[in-house]
């Protein structure tokens, strides 16, 4: 019993460290890739190839003065970044990053929390993220912040629907809400060779989910809440120092979570095709699976970054049109077609 508790704590510590370090690397990667796309070099001064730039930036943010505007509502102003970061960190808790593993004589599931309503937990927690952004915008007592906060709440609520509906297609196929079961369900083969990843079974749901994930994480092309040319900085205009850092961290942590969820739901999670038949030892297999998961997440993150520097920002009415008139019907139709196919088979 005690060792299970210890293992949980171990998993938690490892997880938080990994996410925070990944955020730093991700910010660096984003700046570097965007620079390369624009024929620049990007940060290359601090450490080898500028790798320590992220750490230096974090230190800078920590040392900066914390300025609260005179007319801001201080309690909420302080609370908003905390909500944001708490939400984005707790979403990751249910993502399985590997199959069940033998560790110190225990069967350890490689996920922080084995929640039996996994996907529901995911959807509900990500919905809470709206509070952080909206409260930040409202409590700053600044029109740009408020507009950014309002936009983001409208955007997140609109896209949550298509996100939830596109997940339903996956649910109907795998028949479970547990994310580890969903991954296990994908670790099969269609026709003996094609991995039964949900991207092949549910391509429409994949597209709608990815688009919704972009909108949920406030990434370009849907970064209207912080559209710099229109809204200065959006909801975090009035934030400085550590509190701004928390928003920044939450944004990138959200990105990692979104990438991990996309990987889990649609790209087969930790499943590495054709490796089962090689007859590797269980430990090697586990490590290989965790690595597979990481590689997939990194690829999705790179996709996020490249998309950011490819597509221009949507206009607000276009965003709403896309959300309500295209994504929602598409996700609904997908549920309908999936249901029909499942009935007929």
């Amino acid at each position: 019993m005690e060792s299970i508790f210890l293992i949980s704590i171990l998993k938690f510590v490892v997880y938080v460290t990994v996410v925070l370090v990944t955020v730093i690397i991700l910010v660096y990667a984003e700046r570097r890739v965007s620079a390369f796309i624009q024929d620049r070099l990007g940060p290359n001064r601090v450490g080898p190839w500028g790798l320590f730039q992220g750490i230096v930036d974090v230190v800078k943010l920590l040392l900066k003065e914390d300025i609260v505007p005179k007319n801001a509502y201080k309690p909420v102003h302080d609370l908003a970044p905390i909500i944001s970061i708490a939400v984005s960190l707790s979403t990751f808790a249910i993502v399985p990053f590997g199959n069940t593993m033998e560790l110190f004589g225990h069967q350890v599931k490689l996920m922080i929390a084995d929640v039996n309503v996994g996907i529901l937990y995911l959807l509900s927690i990500t919905s809470l993220g709206v509070y952080g952004v909206t409260l930040a915008g409202w409590s700053s007592n600044n029109k740009y912040s408020l507009l950014g906060g309002l936009r983001s709440s409208a955007q997140m609520i609109s896209y949550e629907l298509s996100m939830g509906l596109s997940v339903i297609g996956v649910l109907m196929i795998s028949g479970t809400l547990r994310l580890d079961q969903i991954v296990l369900h994908q670790a099969r083969y269609l026709g003996g060779w094609l991995p039964a990843w949900n991207i092949f079974l549910q391509p429409v749901a994949f597209v709608t989910f990815v688009v919704a994930a972009f909108a949920e994480t406030n990434r370009l092309p849907f970064d209207l809440p912080e559209a710099e040319p229109e809204l200065v900085g959006g909801y975090h205009t009035e934030y400085t120092g550590l509190k701004f850092g928390l928003f920044f961290l939450a944004e990138y942590a959200n990105m990692i979570t979104a990438a991990a969820v996309i990987t889990t739901l649609f790209l087969g999670g930790w499943h590495l095709p054709y490796v089962e038949s090689l007859g590797l030892s269980p430990l090697t297999l586990s490590i290989l699976q965790v690595l597979t998961f990481c590689v997939k997440v990194v690829l999705v993150l790179l996709f996020f970054i490249v998309v950011r520097w490819t597509i221009p920002r949507f206009r607000y009415d276009q965003l709403m049109n896309l959300g309500w008139k295209v994504m929602l019907p598409l996700a609904l139709a997908n549920v309908l077609v999936t249901g029909l196919v499942l009935l007929l088979i």
């Binding site: 390369f36 796309i37 024929d39 620049r40 070099l41 290359n44 490249v306 520097w309």
Partner: protein, 166 residues
């Protein structure tokens, strides 16, 4: 919008373009290809920009056989739009008879227009390829003769360029 309120498009979008995703993928192919192309940025202190002879860097005085070519006619200081040049003439035993006892260019005032070079009858003041000008005080920014003189060998490219294009 047209005058009758109808949307006017040069060409209607095809169904593929309306779906939007193939177009996004096309765009992404472009951006990803861009990642591997050579970069324009110089890693500055290690790798410096080497200007062409046509580049107008800081103006310098041409030094030939250990003496400046300048005969202190004062045309450059006359033409200088920002009044950056100050010349004081004096007599010399040499063939040219006159030389500048004092020649100062205030590099804070200089606007690198190259008029001085254009007006000079002796080709004695030319624009060099130096662009790194850092001062810590106003006084330091006033370049006297000792900092302005440069030998003909160093200015070979620029003098050659002037001969061809003037």
């Amino acid at each position: 919008m047209g005058s009758n309120g109808r949307m006017i498009r040069k060409k209607d979008l095809t169904i593929w373009q309306k779906v939007y995703i193939p177009e996004i993928l096309k765009g992404m192919r472009l951006t990803i290809a861009q990642i591997f192309k050579p970069k324009f940025t110089y890693s500055y202190p290690e790798e410096r920009f080497q200007p062409q002879p046509s580049f107008r860097g800081r103006p310098v005085l041409v030094e030939e056989n250990g003496v400046e070519r300048c005969v202190a006619c004062g045309l450059c200081s006359r033409v200088c739009p920002s009044l950056a040049i100050e010349v004081q003439a004096s007599e010399t035993e040499l063939e040219k008879e006159r030389y500048p006892i004092k020649f100062e260019i205030n590099m804070v005032r200089c606007i690198f227009c190259g008029f001085c070079e254009e007006v000079c009858p002796e080709e004695a003041i030319v624009m060099s390829n130096e662009y790194e000008l850092v001062f810590t005080s106003q006084e330091e920014a006033v370049f006297g003769k000792e900092r302005l003189l440069k030998s003909t060998e160093e200015l070979k490219d620029r003098l050659e360029f002037l001969r061809q294009h003037r």
